[in-house]
């Protein structure tokens, strides 16, 4: 295979195939890794992100679970305590209300409660985000996990980052909540605006480091997950209007790479945090405050946040569009910020 056909194959590859490749490479490396979740085995995942794994690694290591999230999430805790490295899939992050107990009172706290005696290498893989599926199937909720100490919380955008961060999550000795975005899971490599290139072998990326995905000098825009794509699109529009936007992909909510954002915002003087999760008591306020705490409260001329305005996601797409930050909404806000300088 030439490099060119390889790249072409990669570009034609749906994001879920990249994710399952990352998992497969790790499962090959480490026989203690196993996956449990609904429809991840025979069906290969509702988005295909575990396709082929059961055939390859067998039913014990890629287990189709009944709809018993409390049961199999706690099973993940027990498996980790028994020396395994489970990946537990909660199909959609919205369902976490049935099993948060095992996630936050056990997985996230056991390492601390045990005084460091018990490690907890569990990956909670789940999907969030809006694709028209209404209030109970559209949330992001990374702000919720981030509020509860003990989780690392990852939400990548590019195929490249999905592969590297999934590998890092599976190798981490800490519990990691890995939140994919449904809209991204429906994309192929070529549909991504940044970093669709994915190396073949296994590699990891450090969890907790943001990436500047577009350089700019007028406004700093920090976001993550699918919104990075929208932000890049908005930044392109704004560039045509003479406004230069620096776009930062946070990649994880915990750890939160404040330094990278602060460095950029210090340069541009303006910060916009965009979040597909709910506005209040979440990422946008925390990141804004941390940047201000780092730079001083009068260091920036503008600090704004754009997020879902504290309502459940409505069913009608016309309504969803009115609350979820998309390219137009982001561009509008950037425009207003640029004018209001």
């Amino acid at each position: 295979m030439t490099a060119a056909t390889r790249v072409n194959d990669r570009l034609a590859m749906p994001l879920p195939a990249t994710i399952s490749e990352a998992i497969a490479l790790e499962m090959e490396r480490d026989p203690t890794i196993l996956c449990i979740g609904e429809d991840i085995g025979r069906a290969g995942g509702v988005f295909g992100a575990t396709r082929g794994l059961q055939e390859r690694f067998g039913e014990d290591r890629v287990m189709d679970a009944p709809i018993a999230e409390m049961g199999f999430t706690g099973m993940g805790v027990g498996l980790a305590q028994a020396g395994m490295r489970p990946l537990i899939e909660i199909m959609f992050v919205d369902f976490v209300g049935v099993c948060l107990e095992q996630m936050y009172n056990a997985a996230a706290k056991v390492p601390y409660m045990s005084g460091g005696r018990q490690r907890m290498p569990v990956v909670f893989k789940t999907a969030g985000g809006c694709i028209g599926s209404a209030a109970q199937h559209s949330q992001c909720l990374w702000g919720l996990f981030a509020h509860l100490p003990g989780f690392k919380v990852v939400a990548p955008c590019s195929p490249h980052d999905h592969k590297g961060l999934m590998a890092a999550a599976l190798r981490s000795d800490d519990p990691v909540v890995f939140i994919e975005h449904k809209a991204l899971l429906l994309k192929k490599g070529r549909d991504f605006r940044h970093h669709p290139d994915v190396p073949d072998g296994a590699y990891t990326l450090p969890i907790g480091r943001a990436a500047v995905v577009r350089r700019g000098s007028d406004i700093t825009l920090a976001t993550l997950s699918a919104t990075v794509e929208h932000a890049l699109s908005a930044a392109e529009d704004l560039a045509e209007e003479g406004v230069s936007v620096e776009v930062i992909d946070l990649r994880s909510v915990v750890p939160l790479d404040t330094a990278t954002v602060a460095e950029s915002a210090g340069r541009t003087g303006r910060l916009l945090v965009v979040d597909e999760d709910y506005l209040s008591f979440g990422l946008s306020a925390e990141l804004s405050m941390r940047v201000l705490e780092m730079l001083g409260f009068s260091a920036l001329t503008q600090v704004e946040r754009l997020a879902v305005p504290d309502v459940p996601i409505p069913a009608a797409l016309t309504l969803e569009k009115a609350v979820v930050p998309g390219p137009e909404m982001i561009a509008d806000r950037l425009r207003r910020m640029a004018k209001g300088s």
Binding site: D39, A43, Q136
Partner: protein, 310 residues
């Protein structure tokens, strides 16, 4: 049954016309359950349904125009376009649903307790699939209903699949009904493709609960003819298998055969009924598709009833 089938076919058409976004779960193949239960439901009874809820809603008497409009995300929908197909709420018929598997039963338990307290002889019907029978919510609701002998009927639609996961692969028991003893509940089993059998058995379940006999688990075996949701690649079963199910277990075909064999109806008359329902739904759909979408200006409405104090 025929009306329910026609309704779901209209939904499929609406999906093709891009009037529905997000997941859509239809009940095609399972309508005998809806039609059978409809006969025993009283207006004051409550039904709490699942992600696959259209035929239950129709069985409970939810207005089909408002329901279809909701599914098509219209301003005049049952929930003004906020709920969508998985979350229809109709206080006027005591019908509601949830998109979270297993979550329907605790809610039904609440209705059951309210009915008990008020001395009403109404029954709360909580619906779940086979997949939902493994959830903690199933257990907790039945523990409470069993201990308190509440008027609750748990209808388990066992189509042997939870998305791709086969019931036999993940259930510790051959049936769900046999678990009734763990809750001191009555366990019933019925062929969910036979509308007459469902009507009889469901009536028996309702009578039991209505007459203070305590909760009932009624398990109706059935088959889902389409994907779990529209667009489901169904990698977990073959086309042939699906075709076989359709040919063997279609509740409408089976019922037609019974009616014609018994000489009660002729094929022509039955065809006419089906055609009529189809036509009516076609008209309704086109009316619904002409309805306006919700006004984005009101997108923040309905979060709270009471204003935040100024």
């Amino acid at each position: 049954m025929v009306a329910m089938r026609a309704f779901d076919e209209a939904c499929l058409e609406a999906l093709r016309r891009k009037a529905i976004h997000g997941e859509l779960h239809v009940g095609i193949g399972q309508e005998a359950i809806g039609a059978g239960m409809a006969e025993a439901l009283e207006p004051e009874d409550a039904v709490v349904s699942t992600h696959r809820n259209h035929y239950h809603a129709l069985a409970k008497g939810v207005d089909r125009r408002a329901l279809l409009a909701e599914i098509c995300e219209r301003a005049a929908g049952l929930c003004q376009g906020r709920g969508g197909h998985m979350h229809p709420f109709d206080p006027s018929t005591n019908f509601s649903a949830t998109g979270i598997v297993g979550a329907s039963l605790p809610v039904a338990l609440g209705y059951a307790h309210a009915f008990g307290m008020r001395g009403m002889d109404a029954v709360a019907v909580g619906i779940t699939g086979d997949g939902g029978s493994h959830t903690g919510g199933f257990h907790e609701a039945l523990v409470m209903a069993g201990a308190r002998k509440l008027p609750m009927v748990v209808l388990v639609e066992n189509n042997a699949l939870a998305i791709s996961v086969q019931f036999d692969d993940v259930s510790p028991t051959k049936t769900v009904a046999e678990r009734a003893a763990a809750y001191s509940a009555l366990g019933l089993h019925v062929d969910g493709t036979d509308v007459d059998a469902v009507a009889d058995r469901f009536a028996e379940a309702m009578d039991h609960a209505r007459s203070a006999g305590g909760p009932v688990i009624i398990e109706a075996t059935c088959h889902r003819f389409r994907g779990h949701f529209e667009g489901d690649p169904e990698g977990y079963r073959s086309k042939e298998e699906r075709q076989r199910l359709r040919e063997t277990y279609d509740p409408i075909t089976l019922y037609r055969q019974r009616l014609t064999t018994a000489g009660l109806f002729e094929d022509g008359a039955l065809d006419a009924i089906q055609a009529e329902e189809k036509a009516a739904m076609k008209v309704l759909l086109s009316e619904v598709l002409d309805m306006p979408m919700p006004d984005p200006a009101g997108v923040l409405d309905y979060l709270f009833v009471e204003e935040v104090p100024a």
